[in-house]
């Protein structure tokens, strides 16, 4: 990996090595921007697709159907070939005025000064606590993200008979992950009258033999150490108990924007995303934002497109600067 860029001397620092960040980095290099640094807090670059072990990824970007992990690998390779400097296990701890970043690295804390910063920190699912779900605070409660990183990255399982809350695309991704890992999903719950995903995806529940309970809410989590059952309010407004040993709270994506909230940058309190102008620029013009951070949850390809588009604006901005 090219490690020639010094921390005090960087044209564009990109926070987040997911599809938006990497696509922007590649595009910036192609536009002739010299020193492009991508920072990621994880030990591996590629972002969320790394643990989406199923297609379709890469149709637009690479003209073929790929799984999440192969897509992530390919994107990282393209970036490296373009001369992007990717640095891992680096956590940005503060966004300062005019692109001054504070970083925590295993080798110590570092200050980074970049001419422009692109924030591409993505999204996370809304966990149980933020959904204010009643009941015991016990083991066996996951999000799709935590389930998938456990299954795909560590080869472990947190439960054997969970229910899935939500019917977004990611909920079906959770369903497939369970199937692959030998976990038997007991039911899928959707509080609305219809599933969030369009036909025909939700028919996959029927194929997998998993009941899809519409107009149904989870109202209580029962268990002393681990999940033992959930109480639901079903479509007839009746309270029922479902025996299960886990719950996957899937979807309800929310921007990973605390870094922005804690900084001088303006944030939209409704969406939790940074406020940007028509060029993806934040309230401090040294900062840009792109990807899922702005519009949860777009498919990887949309993040990739937006990263490229924002890179154009950043390149133009840098070239126009005196």
């Amino acid at each position: 990996m090219n490690s020639s860029i010094r921390y005090d001397n960087c044209d564009v620092a990109i926070i987040g090595a997911g599809p938006a960040g990497l696509a922007a980095a590649i595009a910036l290099k192609k536009k002739g921007i010299e020193r492009v640094l991508v920072l990621d807090r994880e030990g591996e670059a590629g972002g969320i697709p790394r643990h989406c072990g199923h297609p379709p990824f890469g149709i637009v970007e690479y003209a073929r159907v790929m799984s999440g992990p192969s897509y992530a690998k390919r994107l990282v390779k393209t970036a490296q070939q373009a001369g992007v400097d990717i640095r891992l296990q680096i956590s940005v701890t503060n966004l300062g005025q005019n692109g001054s970043l504070s970083l925590a690295t295993p080798a110590g804390t570092i200050d980074l000064k970049a001419k422009r910063v692109l924030i591409a920190t993505g999204v996370r699912e809304t966990p149980r606590a933020e959904r204010l779900v009643s009941g015991g605070r016990v083991l066996g409660i996951a999000t799709t993200g935590s389930l998938q990183s456990m299954v795909y990255l560590k080869n472990m399982i947190p439960f054997r008979n969970p229910i899935i809350v939500g019917t977004e695309i990611v909920s079906f991704s959770a369903l497939l992950t369970c199937k692959k890992a030998g976990i038997k999903t007991i039911a899928m719950l959707e509080e609305n009258k219809r599933p969030t995903v369009p036909w025909p995806i939700h028919h996959s529940t029927r194929l997998l033999g998993v009941p899809l309970l519409l107009n149904t809410q989870i109202i209580n989590i029962i268990g002393s150490k681990r999940v033992e059952a959930v109480q639901i309010l079903d479509r007839r407004q009746k309270i029922r108990e479902i025996i299960c040993d886990g719950i996957i709270f899937s979807g309800k994506f929310t921007p990973e924007s605390t870094l922005i909230r804690m900084s001088h940058l303006s944030i939209d309190p409704e969406t939790n995303s940074p406020i940007i102008d028509n060029f993806g620029r934040c309230s401090d013009p040294a900062y840009y934002a792109a990807g899922n951070l702005l519009q949860p949850l777009n498919m990887a390809v949309n993040c990739w497109r937006e990263g490229r588009k924002t890179a154009d604006w950043i390149a133009k901005d840098l070239n126009d600067a005196p």
Partner: protein
């Protein structure tokens, strides 16, 4: 202290079961909550051999797991009560010892905020009580001054009393430090060792636990939510009955922390102490607790309707919270009794002391209660020679305002990104004197998974790092292909 001592402290269970007598000490402390840990420390320092007996796999598994993390001055404790005395001496001792344990404190002070005329009318009584309790620096402040101090509070605030001595501390590292010091100086701790019965022969107790028998000259019942059960099981009767009182809390994201400079206390009514808004030492902002009577002593579940109402009450007082995400919710259970005060009962003829009904002031009162236990035992003739140069016991810092582990190089990797918990911190805890026996215990010792994503990123890595260490593991098995 090294790991080797840890194994001797924890005793070899197989051997123990063979002999059945697994420990013998001057003082047996039953219960590993904040009170039990403080008593174990105090009596060890006073020169007694001490064994702490805990029924769970880790300390702080009952009432001490959820509280408001405030070091109280005791300004509002019942005048002349034992509670007032213990809070006051506990407060003073905490201020004296916290540095030697590396325990953090932020001296932020509190405002008792009045939101109505009726509440303001009770200020005189509060000021009078505080004076009687020896807390003399309370000060009435006007609406203008209150709003200048806390500009983010709703303009509906009418006036306030400033209580400069109320501070925030780390509620889980403190008891851990107390027990570690006891262990460092020769004490023992037994886990998964519920006490089921006991016999007193006029000089010594022989306690039956689920691990085997423990012999002790004196017994201190610090069993918290089960204090009355224990007295009934062993002594045959209890002078009080625990009336569990649940308190639910809502934790707001770190972005809320700078909205308040001080703890915002309510004006207590006859019925309840009311709901507090407080910044935590970990950089969050919390609202709570509720006060709900319930039958169960274990059920610390949360309730959606109540959480929503807590959130709304918080927003009324601090409108900017409307835009701050919620990080976590939790509940604690206070061991209240049919009466308001601490139920400290000494049975001198049976060498038995019960510390019961330690409700909301236990975190501060624990060190004072521990001193009181020593006083009670001395009074009945126990003579120990205090350890001359006790070994101290440092705990890792988890407070946000002090340097954290990730700021020093060589931490390996950051495992929990929301709370910035490093691999080095987790390994140090698990290889230490009192390793966590559960994910909850690890959370309390490191803050891993306590942040806004609640384990979205780190639970897989944590499952891997703690494999084989918890009776209730994060992952229950491997992927079957």
């Amino acid at each position: 202290m090294t790991n080797k001592n840890h194994t001797t402290n924890q005793l070899n269970i197989n051997q123990a079961i063979k002999n059945n007598l697994i420990a013998s000490a001057d003082v047996a402390v039953i219960g590993g909550g904040v009170v039990g840990c403080a008593v174990a420390r105090r009596m060890t320092l006073e020169g007694a051999s001490v064994v702490l007996i805990e029924k769970a796999s880790d300390i702080l598994n009952g009432a001490s797991k959820g509280n408001s993390a405030i070091l109280h001055t005791g300004f509002d404790a019942p005048e002349g009560s034992l509670e007032q005395q213990c809070v006051s001496t506990g407060y003073a001792e905490y201020l004296k010892i916290h540095k030697s344990f590396n325990l953090p404190i932020v001296k932020i002070g509190a405002l008792i905020a009045a939101w109505s005329e009726e509440e303001e009318s009770r200020f005189d009584k509060i000021l009078k009580k505080a004076r009687e309790n020896g807390v003399r620096n309370l000060r009435l402040i006007s609406q203008t001054e209150a709003r200048a101090l806390e500009p983010n509070l709703s303009e509906k605030i009418r006036s306030a009393i400033a209580v400069p001595g109320e501070f925030i501390i780390d509620p889980w590292s403190a008891p851990l430090a107390y027990l570690q010091q006891a262990l460092n100086n020769g004490g023992q701790a037994l886990f998964n060792a519920e006490v089921t019965s006991g016999q007193f022969d006029g000089a010594n107790w022989l306690l039956d636990t689920k691990l085997g028998q423990v012999r002790a000259h004196y017994v201190v019942n610090c069993a918290g939510l089960f204090g009355d059960y224990l007295d009934r099981e062993v002594l045959g009767a209890s002078e009080f009955t625990i009336k569990p009182r649940k308190g639910q809390f809502v934790v707001f994201d770190k972005a809320a922390n700078n909205l308040l400079k001080s703890i915002i206390l309510p004006v207590p009514s006859e019925r309840t102490k009311g709901i507090v808004l407080f910044p935590t030492i970990f950089g969050n902002l919390v609202v709570g607790p509720t006060a709900e009577e319930q039958e169960s002593r274990n059920d610390a579940s949360v309730d959606k309707a109540i959480l929503i109402s807590l959130k709304e009450q918080a927003i009324q007082k601090l409108p900017a919270l409307a835009n701050i995400p919620i990080t976590a919710t939790y509940a604690g259970i206070r061991p209240a009794t049919e009466e308001k005060h601490y139920r400290v009962i000494q049975k001198a003829d049976q060498n038995w002391i019960t510390l019961g009904g330690i409700r909301s002031t236990g975190l501060t009162g624990a060190l004072g209660l521990a001193q009181h236990v020593h006083y009670l035992l001395s009074k009945q003739g126990a003579a120990f020679k205090a350890i001359e140069n006790p070994i101290s016991s440092q705990v890792p810092n988890l407070a946000e305002h002090l340097p954290r582990d990730y700021e020093k190089s060589g931490y390996g990797e950051i495992v929990c990104h929301c709370e910035m918990v490093t691999q080095r911190e987790i390994l140090a805890v698990q290889e230490g004197l009192l390793p966590a026996g559960s994910l909850e215990g690890l959370k309390r010792r490191t803050r891993a998974t306590m942040g806004r994503c609640q384990g979205f990123y780190c639970s897989a890595r944590l499952a891997e790092l703690t494999k084989g260490q918890f009776a209730n593991p994060i992952a229950i098995g491997d992927v079957d292909e």
